[in-house]
Amino acid sequence: MIRKLFTVLALSILLYALPVRATVVIPADLGELSRDALAIARGRVAALDAQWTEDHGTIETMVTLEVESYLKGSLGSTLRFRVPGGELGRFRSIVVGAPEFAVNQRIVVFLGARGPSVPHVLGLNQGVFHVSRAADNSGWLVTSPVMMPATAGNVRVVRGDPARRPLALDQFEQTVRSLAGATK
């Protein structure tokens, strides 16, 4: 009984520790994101600054990215883009489905913009790819290969498919550059 109680307690604490995200999205594949993006940048998150939106209706966060490379377009060596939500004073606004970042994270981000406004991330979480070191330290990897476009006919997505593995960063970038230049 005591052991069970501890198990319950441990799982309770764990569940509390898992902020999850959510929304209903129209899924985009990598080709759509690559074509639609105004700019695609790889870089390191340098700063996060929460602020009130221009209409003072809610909170948003400005993300500063130190750009290592552009896969499409160019917005300078340091760029800023906005994401919904953030924390100001005693208030925390969470827009479920909006990407959250941490300083020093390495990402590839697909950005859009309307007119002269500050860029935003395309498709919320769909427009952010995390870059992480391979477990064997052999290089950098990007996850979410399921977003690669199907090649011939519709393809059922099967969990555990041995063919689906994280992509090497250079392979991912080569694919994105190719897709970004393609016409639909």
Partner: protein, 333 residues
């Protein structure tokens, strides 16, 4: 004094989750070094609807469709949450004004987003102040009883978002396919809380599934939820090491229903509640087909490098109790 406070916090965690198991992911925020679940402290939860319609959906149509979706969640017999329409407002969803508002809004920066839920939280206490749901007016919507070709069913999407509004995260119980001409579509979903929408015209997501019912009952338990339903728990290891983020599915062959959860700690433990008593088939699979950020905070490393596996025996779930620990083992892809 500090020790007494710590004890109180632990007690409240245990009492707040007296069920022996959990289905579903829930929203949580860190407050003062503790993690607090995002849920409503009082019911009925009062909400406003905006007074603006869109082509094909009047403000009254919107109010009625949203009302049906709230009623569907409220009708779950093993959950205690209730909702109340507070009125019609000209305020827009997504404004931090202290009122929970549902309505249409034009958000060109949220392309590809049909609808989304937001929360405003007091970061000193963790109290949920308001939750808004916006429906993107850039899309074509319908409230027709049988759905309409080319238009998204508002009631279905509202049902999903109200699940979030109530504190539920996403479920991974769904199957999709990549379309040769671009994009991805849902083939089947065993949870309204699956994050990818059915195609326009579909009304398949107007009905809660076993996984949804288990989730809302776990957050707001009522009636005999904890005495009539059972749970299943255990661990998942890969090459002898505990696995984090493995998706574990319990399938009831008698009813055909599925309820799922994840391994959620460094010990690779999982626990699935809200199960009907009786035999269950247990499967473990990697979340390698999904946007992991849609399920877990990006600070968590989810292992997706393993093959699907089944527990080698049918597991008996007892009424009002737990199956006892089962050990699932997986191998690298």
């Amino acid at each position: 004094m500090r020790r007494a406070f710590t004890a109180l916090v632990i007690a409240s965690l245990v009492l707040g989750h007296s069920s022996s198991a959990h289905a579903y992911l829930k929203f949580g925020v860190p407050i003062g070094g503790q993690q607090v679940t995002v849920k409503w402290a009082q019911t009925p939860v009062r909400y406003f609807v905006s007074d603006t319609g869109v082509p094909g959906v009047s403000a009254v149509d919107f109010q009625n469709a949203v009302g049906r979706a709230f009623a569907t969640w409220q009708a779950v017999p093993t959950a205690s949450i209730t909702y109340q329409l507070a009125g019609v407002t000209s305020a827009l969803p997504g404004s931090d004004d202290g009122s929970s508002v549902l309505g249409f809004r034009s958000r060109p920066d949220l392309d590809r987003v049909l609808a989304s839920t937001s929360f405003l939280i007091d970061s000193t206490t963790g109290a949920l102040i308001e939750s808004d749901i916006f429906f993107n007016s850039a899309f074509q919507w319908s409230t027709a009883a049988a759905g309409e070709t080319g238009r998204y069913d508002l009631e279905s999407i509202a049902l999903h978002e109200i699940g979030h509004f109530s504190g539920l995260g996403h479920s991974a119980l769904g199957e999709t396919e990549m379309i040769s001409t671009g994009g991805r579509r849902v083939l089947s979903a065993e949870a309204v809380m699956f994050p990818i929408a059915f195609a326009p015209g579909s009304i398949a997501a107007r009905t809660l599934k076993a996984d949804d019912i288990a989730g809302i009952s776990d957050l707001y338990p009522d009636g005999d939820f904890q005495t009539t339903d059972g749970s299943l728990s255990g661990t998942v290891t890969k090459d002898g090491q505990p696995l984090f983020g493995a998706h574990v599915v319990a399938f009831d062959p008698a009813s055909g229903s599925m309820v799922a959860s994840f391994t959620l700690n460094a010990q690779g433990q999982f626990s699935i509640g809200g199960l009907s008593p009786g035999p269950h088939v247990v499967r473990v699979e990697p979340l390698d087909d999904a946007d992991i950020d849609s399920f877990f905070d990006s600070s968590h490393t989810v292992d997706i490098d393993f093959k699907v596996a089944f527990f080698d025996q049918v597991v008996a779930v007892p009424k009002g109790g737990d199956s006892g620990q089962i050990a699932l083992k997986v191998v690298h892809k």
